[in-house]
Symmetry: C2
Subunit: 119 residues, 2 copies
């Protein structure tokens, strides 16, 4: 079973975390190759990344694709996420993990920006 | 003359700020309705938002569309940007300013996420 974990930074502002939860719901309603989709936060709120991974695997995920929902490759993206991934790989050696580039590095980003400004 | 100002948070990590500059260059190379495109940062680095606005207007912009390059509506998006915009409107009363929703609020975001995970 193929799963997607969307990882956001997390905020002290609850409405900001709610946006991520709603977005995840919207992603779930899109046609995709994923059997399971969850979100998690790097800090300041829950579910934590390890919670998100546990939930997916408890629900049968054998392959977990991780999308860092970040625009910039700051220390979180460059250092923290690979470290969390290493620890997940050790905990679940039979599961395949695949850490994607952060969203801001998407080749289509400049196109998406133009789409968003086409008002 | 219609101008686009892409506003990012700004980072202590220079490579992260460079990403925004490169992205702006990529946006400039896309077909669009903009005569001028610049980027600016809310904090930690330059060009500041007021610098970006000044540059666009010095180069002839009469309409400035502002895109907050943020995924979440935190305090920066909700409080700081409207405040900066008010001050720009006072400084340049003949220029039209239009503050767009932050990128994370784009209706297409769930679709973009699926595109990005389609590996």
């Amino acid at each position: 079973m193929k799963a997607l974990l969307i990882i956001a930074h997390g905020s002290r502002k609850q409405s900001s975390n709610d946006e991520v939860a709603l977005l995840t719901k919207a992603v779930t309603s899109q046609p995709s190759n994923f059997d399971l989709i969850e979100h998690a936060f790097l800090e300041l709120t829950t579910p934590k990344v390890s919670d998100g991974i546990d939930t997916l695997i408890e629900n049968g995920a054998t392959e977990v694709i991780i999308l860092p929902y970040f625009l910039a490759a700051g220390l979180h993206v460059v250092d923290d996420l690979p470290m969390l991934l290493d620890s997940a790989k050790k905990q679940y050696p039979k599961v395949t993990f695949n850490l994607l580039k952060h969203l801001g590095a998407a080749e289509q980003m400049s196109n998406w920006i133009i789409q968003q400004t086409d008002i």
